[in-house]
Amino acid sequence: MNPFAYTRATNQQAAIQAIAQQNAKFIAGGTNLLDLMKEHVEQPSRLIDINRLELTQIVERNGGLRLGALVKNSDTANHRLVRERYPLVTQAILAGASAQLRNAATNGGNLMQRTRCYYFYDTAMPCNKREPDSGCGALEGFSRIHAIFGTSSRCIATHPSDMCVALAALDATVQVEGPQGPRSIPFAEFHRLPGDTPQIDTNLRRDELITAIDLPATANVFADHSYYLKVRDRASYAFALVSVAAALDIRNGVIQEARVAMGGVAHKPWRATKAEVTLKGQRADESSFRGAAEAEMQSAVGTEHNRFKIELGRRAIVRALTIAANSGRTA
């Protein structure tokens, strides 16, 4: 990796001041950033180590939970209140990476991880995300892992996170702090679609620091009927081809409210709003789930190697909703 200067931030204000320096980056767990630095995809001239900041707590707030940005993924997944009230988040985190990586990776870092598109990683290939206006290797290339929703002619990369798919489904809020003070970003607005500027992954400004992720009290109603389904090329320790976070509020067999989000299909965690609208007020049965899957997948567009994701997505939505309705029981 390229040489860089190292700064250890001891408080939030110092971290935010330091990030103003040219080509500086925050580092927390480093599980994605260091990987990218070894490949020369990321070449920061300064790393600001934020691991000593006091953002390592999970606390109850307004009936929901505030997850500190620096809580490790493994600790978030296994926190008693997360397991009890937001099992979807626990399941999604535990479906991702390996125990070793989850022990190092943080909540904030999970949001900021970059695509695993092979053309993005390979500096010998063109990539509009890595080098704006250089072209896209994936459009005409091997696109098995690429997007089927919200793509542009410049980028068909996917967001790799599992945790973020659950956070999108549950309408989490991202708390950030910048030179002008704090602000909140609704989860749906945190990550971006590629459009003409695929080099910009998120709406977090360059000089802002993620401090926490809030899980709302309103999402408690889904705890009894939620499930994270991940379909991948091997049984563990692989990124999703397609994943579905399904959460239902069912009373007397009727769906009061539904939340569905998908991973592995778009440049951001894909909130399946068409499926959600279709499900509301319907009976929690297979025909409703099929209708929802159909409604959502209608607008999907595949490329040569990832067309299979459209049928896979349909089936994954039905299966995830079925298991969620069955209180998470797979049989």
């Binding site: 990796m1 040489p3 860089f4 200067a5 190292y6 250890r8 580092i27 480093g30 599980t31 260091l34 990987d35 070894k38 790393l47 180590d49 691991n51 493994s74 997944a77 296994n78 008693r80 397991r83 009890e84 099992p87 626990t90 399941q91 535990l94 479906a95 990476a97 390996s98 125990a99 070793q100 990586l101 022990n103 190092a104 705890a223 049984a235 563990s236 320790y237 998470g328 029981r329």
Partner: protein, 177 residues
């Protein structure tokens, strides 16, 4: 590299204290192997995909290839060299030998460190991807499926997985998990 560009780092590794000045690019993996004369920890992929470099830091397993030493200043590390008590092997090491939990041996130190930390995670009641109901807390029943899932961050190219599972299963039975 001049002194201004290096960073002071203190670490305790297998019970020995080290005071170091390091290029901030130094990963824990390179530090252990190249500067501290502890080559037991192996470099496989160097990208967090194989688990050969797994070490235990402050009681938790991580990939040392994706860890900058400067970030872990003040931490306590156990590597495969620190598992045994002199000539007395750790029970998992003995079980790996008995069940042939390796062939070429390259992934073994990572497998061992990972398994030691994994059993601690089980003691703490952590859930895994194959846990039937994550809302239910309490004792983890360490089935073979659970062992496979919890050890999935350690790849063995020789395919010694049946021996690895058997070794871990034996130790958990001895411990009464």
């Amino acid at each position: 590299m001049s002194n201004e560009e290096t960073v002071a780092v203190r670490l305790r590794v297998n019970g020995t204290n080290y005071g170091l000045r390091l290029d901030p690019r130094t990963t824990l993996l390179n530090l252990l192997r190249e500067k501290l004369d502890l080559p037991g920890t192996k470099k496989g992929c160097d990208h967090g995909q194989c688990g050969a470099c797994t070490i235990i830091i402050d009681g938790r397993r991580i990939n040392s290839c994706l860890a900058l030493a400067v970030i872990y200043d003040g931490s306590e590390i156990t590597t495969v060299e620190g598992l045994s008590k002199g000539d007395e092997l750790h029970p998992l090491q003995t079980a790996f030998v008995r069940h042939e939990g390796f062939q070429c041996g390259y992934c073994t130190s990572g497998q061992l460190c990972s398994a030691v930390a994994m059993l601690n995670e089980v003691d703490q009641g952590t859930a895994s991807h194959v846990t039937a109901d994550v809302r239910k807390e309490g004792n983890v029943v360490l089935t073979d499926d659970e062992i496979r899932e919890r050890m999935s961050g350690n790849i063995c190219r020789c395919g010694a997985y049946p021996g690895i599972i058997a070794a871990i299963r034996e130790v958990t039975q001895q411990r009464g998990v």
